[in-house]
Each structure stands twice: as C-alpha cells, then as structure tokens.
Amino acid sequence: MSAGRLAGRVAFVTGGLRGIGHAAAARMLDEGATVIVSDLDSESDAHDLLGDLADRVGYVQANVTDEGDWARALDHVQQAHGACHILVNNAGIDLTGTVETLELEDWRRIMAINVDGVFMGTKRFVPLMAESGSEVEGGASIVNVSSIMGLVGYAEVSAYNASKGAVRLFTKGIAIEFATKGMPIRANSVHPGFVETPLLKAGFQRWVDKGVAEKPQDLVDAMNAATPMGRLAQPREIAAGIAFLAGPDASYMTGSEMVIDGGWTAQ
C-alpha cells in the first residue's frame, strides 16, 4: 500500500456508516485524506457505528434526498476544511420484486435515494470542487457507486437496475461536461458485484422471507457458484478501487467505469 497517496485532500462520503461507504472512508483515511462521512443516523449512533474511526472522521447527519441537508453538508465541509477534493456518492438502497407488484411509492423512493441523491450531491459540491481541484495533482474526483446491476438486467431487480443505470450515464455526462469546460474534476463510476455488506445481507433475508431459498447461506453459496472468482467481495476491495479513482494515479481516467465483480459480468 502506498500511504499518503491522498495526503492533503478532503473527501466526503455519503452513506459512510456501513458497508462500502464505511470501508471507503477507512481506506481514504489510511491514505492520508481528511474524511467526512454522512448518513441517516444520529450523532451518537454514528459515533458507535464508526468505532475506531470515530475520532478521526467528521460526521454530518444528512439524508441524500433532502436539498436542505445537502446545503448543510456542504456548509459543514466548507467551514471546517475550506475545500473538497473527493466526493463519493455511495448511499444507496435496493428494491426487489416483480414489476407488476412494485409500488410507485417504492419506485420513487429508490430513485430519490440512488439517483436524485447523486444528482444533488454533485450539483451542490461541484462549485467547491472546481476550486479545490486545481490545488491537487490529477484534479478533484467524483466517484459514483453504481453496481453491476447498472450494467446488466436481472429478474425482479428492474427498479434497482434503472436507478444504477442512471448513475452510470449521469457520470459519463458530467465527466464530458467538466472536461470540455476545463473544470478540474474527474468523474467515474464503480460497479461492485456482490459485496458482503448489511445491504446484501438484508436483501438475501428478504429473498428467504419470500421463499426463494431456505436460508441466506444457500443464496451466498449460489452467488459464489455464479461468480468466476468463487466468492463474494469484501467492502475493502471496493474501497481500494474508489481510493484509486479518487487519487492522482487516475489522472487520465474520467467518464470511465470500474467493474469490481470477480468476473461476474465477463461471463
């Protein structure tokens, strides 16, 4: 590992209390960044969830679907650090079900979190990042967490497919926009496969409740068997990709997508 690769950079990570976001915060901290995370939980719950990171990362309680919360988050970062070089739009939820049984309300909720959240975060942070980006090698970097489900369709996952596909192309659109305008901000998407996080566990439990499988482990076994590398990803493996795209080594990468799926979509 190359320590200090992100030294002097300020990073903001949404949904940073669990799973991939938490791992990304830890990883970027390790590489020398100043890290602020946001999530839905109260300050005191956040302190517990952050564990040994609690003393070293900033926290803002903020819902990615709320414009006012985004304004507060930006304000916090600006007041405390006066800069932002890295934005990881990671907060997300899943939704499963056959299309004819999906409720419009649930469809709107997943779009609000997975798509509107990425849009609002980008919109709010871009002016500050455009300033900060000229301070650092390779410029500022937005990393949007899409999914392999943003690349390929999957039965009973259509709403999540739609939301993650939107993130993929939104990212390419802003990448071209920033580049052609000479703004020092790169934008790329990350496409994790099946990652062992609370989101995945909750999703598996829902499949079990629906009678798709007898127990979650059966679903894990099936996923392992369907993945060329034969296992699930660990959050830190996604975090390493996020940290790479965030830093100076990825200076010519923009509008690109990094698939981290153990070969799942190569088949």
Binding site: K172, A175, A179, M229, I238, D249, G255, V259
Partner: protein, 260 residues
C-alpha cells in the same frame, strides 16, 4: 519508491518503448522485480540500466522463444505474479477494402496471437507459483476496441478481440480455482515517442497535435505514466476482486459525444 508491489515478479512484453517502458519503470518504482521483452536490444539495455529491470530479447509472436522467456524468469526468481501483455503494432494496416493479407496476418500475429501466447504462458507460469496459482494479467487493448477506425481495420479488430480474450481467460482461471486475475485496459491516445515522432515529422505538427489532443474532451493526450499507474493498481493486491473487467482510460474520449 513504494512497497506496493514488494516481493512480486513482473513481466512486460514490448517493454522497450512507450507504455511498456513506462510500465517497467513504474513497476520497479513500486517495488517489483521486472523482466521485459522486446526486439530493440539497444533500448532494452538502456532501460535495464536505468531501472534495474532485466531485458530479455524476444519477439512476442515467436512461439518457440516463449518457453525460454518463462524459464529465465523462473530460474532467476522462481515465480511470476504480474504479466502485462503490452506488445502491439499497426504496421501494414489499412481499410478492409485495401489491406493486404500480409498486413492483416502480421498485425494478428502480434496483437492477437502474441497476446494469447503471453496470457497462456503467464497462466502456466503463475499456476506453479510456490504459494499456489496466483497472479494478475493485464492486457493492453485500446479505446478502438469500442470505437473502430475505418482506416485501421486489423488494429481495431485485434484490440476488440483481446478484450474477449481477457474475459475468457478470467472465467477459465475462476473455473480452475486459480487466483489468477485477467483484465484488459483500453487507453485513449497516449503520447508515446511513436506519436511524438509522428507529430514532429508532419508538415503541420501543431494541427496534428491538436487533432490527437482533441480526441479527448480533456483536450490532451494521456501520458505513459498515467497508463502505467493503472497497470500497477491492477497488478497489486488492491485489485484483488477485479477480474474479467475492461477499464477505459481515455480522458472520456469514448464516454459519449463531446457536445457543442
């Protein structure tokens, strides 16, 4: 110097110039032991002297020479962890209407068969690593795998073919239970000596430079070091779950239309 690749042994084909030479330097700088192949002995000696890497004179499509390349690496260090299948060329290319059969076959021999041989021999070597079958293979494709050029038919076709090769090899390694990852990278226009010379020898170098630079919305070509940095990442354990992927590194050249 970093320790990111400490203890790892790497092979770079076509390492005597351009992206290959830049990658030799970067992998050395990240702590790997590096072997590199190529046909230009003078350049090979010079790069070896500068970087501490080992030059092996070998033409990537020379089938019989491959056993010797691998034997040299294994005899010296007993393992292979990273292989960068980089050697490639476009000499003799043309449009599908005009290309000669010799031109076509020559490019296929290097860009496609040469890459297949690299991956094949790398897997066979990595399979026998002392700590079990482990390693990372990176294929240098091109953004032209996704955006074909009308006047470079063989180049476009071979660069697309090796993306499928990376995926097939990744799936195969998974099926065998090997912890060997295989990925392709798709660079945009990179300012190698080859391109700089082309520009310098053009009757209107400024226009030609602007033409290349303008292929990316960033309005610049990529640098060799920027591509090498991605190879180093994919070669490292940081990319432990990345396999069968194709990674575009082109300053958004192929992300879409540039707009008005």
């Amino acid at each position: 110097m970093t320790e990111r690749l400490a203890g790892k042994v790497a092979l770079v084909t076509g390492g005597t110039s351009g992206i290959g030479a830049g990658t030799v330097a970067r992998l050395r700088n990240d702590g790997a032991q590096v072997f590199f192949t190529g046909r230009n002995e003078d350049a090979g000696r010079e790069i070896a002297g500068q970087t501490g890497a080992t030059f092996i004179r070998h033409e990537v499509s020379d089938v019989d020479g491959w056993a010797d390349v691998i034997a040299q690496i294994r005899d010296a260090l007993g393992r292979l962890d990273i292989a960068f299948a980089n050697a490639g060329m476009e000499r003799g290319d043309g449009s599908v209407e005009d290309i000669s059969l010799d031109g076509w076959n020559g490019i296929l021999a290097v860009n496609q068969t040469g890459v297949m041989l690299t991956v094949q021999h790398a897997i066979r070597a990595m399979r026998d690593n002392p700590d079990g079958p482990t390693g990372s293979i990176i294929i240098n494709s091109s953004m032209n795998a996704n955006r074909a050029m009308g006047n470079f038919v063989a180049y476009s076709v071979t660069k697309a073919a090796v993306v499928a090769l990376a995926k097939s090899a990744a799936i195969h390694c998974g099926n065998q239970g090997y912890k060997i990852r295989v990925n392709a990278i798709l660079p945009g226009v990179v300012e190698t000596a080859l391109i700089s010379n082309l520009i310098a020898s053009n009757e209107n170098p400024d226009a030609m430079r602007a033409g290349y630079a303008g292929m990316s919305p960033l309005k610049r070509m990529g640098e060799v070091e920027e591509i090498a940095a991605l190879v180093s990442f994919l070669g490292s354990d940081e990319a432990a779950f990345i396999s069968g992927a194709d990674l575009t590194i082109d300053g958004a050249s192929t992300a879409g239309m540039m707009g008005l």
